[in-house]
Amino acid sequence: MSRTGLWVGLGLAALASLPAWVQDSFLLNAMIHVFLLGAAAQAWNLVGGYAGQVSFGHAAFFGIGAYTAAWLLSRHGVTPWVGLWVGAAVAAGVSLLVGYPTFSLRRHFFALATLALAEIARISFLNWEVVGAAIGLYLPLEYRNRLAYLMWDSKPPYYWTALTVFVLATAVVWVVDRHRAGRYLRAVDQDEDAAEMLGIPTRRYKLYAMGLSASLTAVSGGVYALYVLYIDPYNVMASRISLLVVVIALIGGRGTVWGPVLGAFFIVLLNEYTRAWLGGRGAGTDFILFGLLVVLLSLYQPRGLVGLLARPLRQPQVAVAGAGGDEEEPPRTLPTEEVVLRVRGVQKSFGGVRAVRGVDLEVRRGEILGLVGPNGAGKSTLFDCLTGFARPDGGEASLGGARVLGLPPHRVAWAGLGRTFQGIRVFPDLSVWDNVLCGAEHSREGLWESTLGEAPEPLRRRAEALLRSFGLWEHRHRPAGQLSYGQQKLLSLAMAVLRQPQVVLLDEPAAGVNPVLVEEIGRQIRALNAAGLTFVVIEHNMEFVMRTCHRVAFMAEGRVVTVGRPEEVQRDPRVLELYYGR
């Protein structure tokens, strides 16, 4: 940290003092563009990099910021100190209006909607008399050389203003990156459903990133207007700005703090100087290079130039006494009679197929309930209905007395239901440690808190204990995608139980792993149960079920046929007939 801090301080000092020893006005102009477009790219990075929602319309926000500041100043004499923030607020409002509905669709659609938004904004401003239509707006020159109006007749003050905006945008991204919000946004990018099921309100985080991104872009656009003194839809809303912003962040390295910084210097300086050297005719040649770089990086290095330059960082090892992995299995606890999860008459049809036909089920606090049955019995569909991934046609379900059926997944998670999925659903590019911490309790976690603070100490201690007992502690800094299949299954179990939900639904925890690990997973589930957690486990491995579960519910053809102790269910003639066709 201190070394990075030193380098950042030195770099900043060098940049800030540049106008003192360089009077080359072309270079200063180029640098102002580096800072302003870099700030917009950094803002784009929040939503396009961290949250993974690709916007091709950031010129609209840039333009809104420019127009608001310019219009307030030229028509009403309002100082840009106010105008810039009004512009930021307007841009944030527009961005939420676009983001709110489109964020529930696949990401293609968000990208397309932003493309259309930028075009709509450009056509509207081109024909809107209030803001000067195609003629645009001139900024009144009489306000120049007063700090209160942020306008000057020499370049250095603009240089410092633009640098400030750039530093501000980078600082915002740095803060987000360093704290919980950055982790959650990356999780949303990598697997939205899994993030929801851990209780992360994904749409709220996406909107947050979008609003923050739009307002920072607008501030940068506003300062640009003050610098060029004349704006029209062609210079502040051009698709060229949207594209440059994306290219800067992509080539520099999206989803990283320093990527857009690096990208801004590289792209904008190259762009400005090739324009100067080659003139109008060669204006496009550097863009061919950018395109080539974007294609190559998207194939080989998604983290851009930063990814190419970065060496694998060794993080300090945190030494804390842990639970230890190979202790004796604790004695089995006996479940209570208290019903914690009550399911009544849940139904779900897909077209004409009645996958779940009225399921009744009671889960008692402290038990491990096995859910078995042939393929197509409706077990996973039942899980989907309970956790909000499928909309049930009827029925009710309550957890600890509170209704959960029909809630969106993150609300179900907040109510105290955890879940793992079939196969593995970890966030492959996040470290093991970050993966586990995504499983924190999110129901009382505000956006402000998650942006500015790290996970609380007790939670971190619990996460460490879990990783230690799962044998994953040594791997905590590795990306989860590098773990073995079985380790990833253990990790997803750790993520689901970290916040200690009232009931945890496990969908085939032992499928696809080797017998030794099956035994290990079973042991971990029993240990967690002994510590007080309640589980419902879908599993085909009958040996595993017999050893692990207190009770077993047998499902076939969308109904629960029988519930009882494992031996009883195994001997039930109906089960034998339905399962084995005897």
Binding site: R107, H108, L115, I123, V247, G284, G291, S298, L299
Partner: protein
């Protein structure tokens, strides 16, 4: 009323042309679930190709099509082999960025090669044809007819040929198709070839009445997206229905309200459709 009828007829003609531009985008999107952001750049390149064949080789655009279309089929096939096959299974963001980079290369490649000037084919003495009582420029009517023919041919190909059925199978379930021995990779390459060839066909018949410059891709990309989304993405007939809607919308509202805002209406309808019915007019599954 007369004016509205004229606007409607020329809207249908224009809509058919948009539909042909959108056809390839829809096909590739439907078959591989890859959105090709560079789609309209192939249109631009095909218009340049047709223009230069006319300007240097004195070849009429109608006769240029049989040359341009096969070449662009090859170009699409090559694009798949060199770039797209590497991203078929990549994360969505990587797919978006790869075709976005391609857009840059093609667009600014055209800038470097042809400069920013606008070029058009000029054919003196071109007449008009009366369509339902409304005179429409011959070249536009020809383009509309070519579009209808292309849709008919593609529909027939998909429905009645073995390769067409294999293509549909690959589109519906890649793994099952692979297990059945369908060369999915070749089907994908084919869909890129056909997709780019069809947009080149549109380019060849567009150049007689629409001038080309390196940046025309912007407008056409959005129009093609709007057509595909409006009609229902992943269906070939969706592009046809969507294209017609866009053409009608643009011409009718442009005539009735104000021509300066005609694209505003189109894009607003597109965004509204995304919000209200993202699966499109014909589609059935949205997400």
């Amino acid at each position: 009323m007369e004016l509205v009828w004229q606007a409607a007829v020329s809207g249908v003609v224009l809509g058919l042309v948009y539909a042909l531009v959108a056809l390839g985008l829809s096909l590739v999107w439907g078959v591989m679930d890859v959105v090709n952001l560079a789609h309209a750049e192939y249109l631009m390149l095909a218009m340049y190709a047709t223009y230069w064949l006319w300007a240097l080789g004195k070849l009429d655009p109608t006769l240029a099509a049989p040359v341009v279309v096969p070449v662009f089929f090859g170009l699409g096939w090559l694009t798949y082999q060199l770039l797209v096959r590497r991203i078929v299974r990549a994360p969505l963001a990587a797919q978006i960025f790869a075709t976005f980079g391609l857009l840059f290369i093609l667009r600014y490649g055209a800038f470097a090669a042809f400069g920013p000037n606008v070029y058009g084919v000029w054919r003196p003495g071109e007449g008009t044809v009366a369509v339902l009582g409304v005179p429409v420029a011959t070249s536009k009517v020809v383009a509309a007819a070519v579009s209808l023919a292309a849709f008919g041919l593609l529909a027939g190909f998909l429905r009645y040929t073995k390769t067409g059925k294999a293509l549909q199978a690959a589109a519906q379930n890649r793994d099952v198709a692979l297990a059945l021995g369908i060369p999915v990779d070749r089907m994908y390459a084919l869909s890129w070839g056909v997709g780019v060839a069809s947009v080149a066909l549109a380019g060849a018949f567009l150049i007689p009445f629409y001038q080309v410059s390196p940046t025309i891709g912007d407008a056409f990309l959005l129009l093609a997206f709007a057509s595909v989304v409006l009609g229902g993405f992943g269906r070939v007939d969706g592009a046809l229905v969507g294209g017609l809607c866009i053409g009608l919308l643009e011409n009718l509202l442009g005539t009735l309200i104000s021509p300066t805002f005609k694209f505003l209406f189109v894009f607003a309808a597109f965004v509204a459709m995304l919000l209200v019915r993202p699966q499109g007019l014909l589609g059935d599954g949205g997400r």
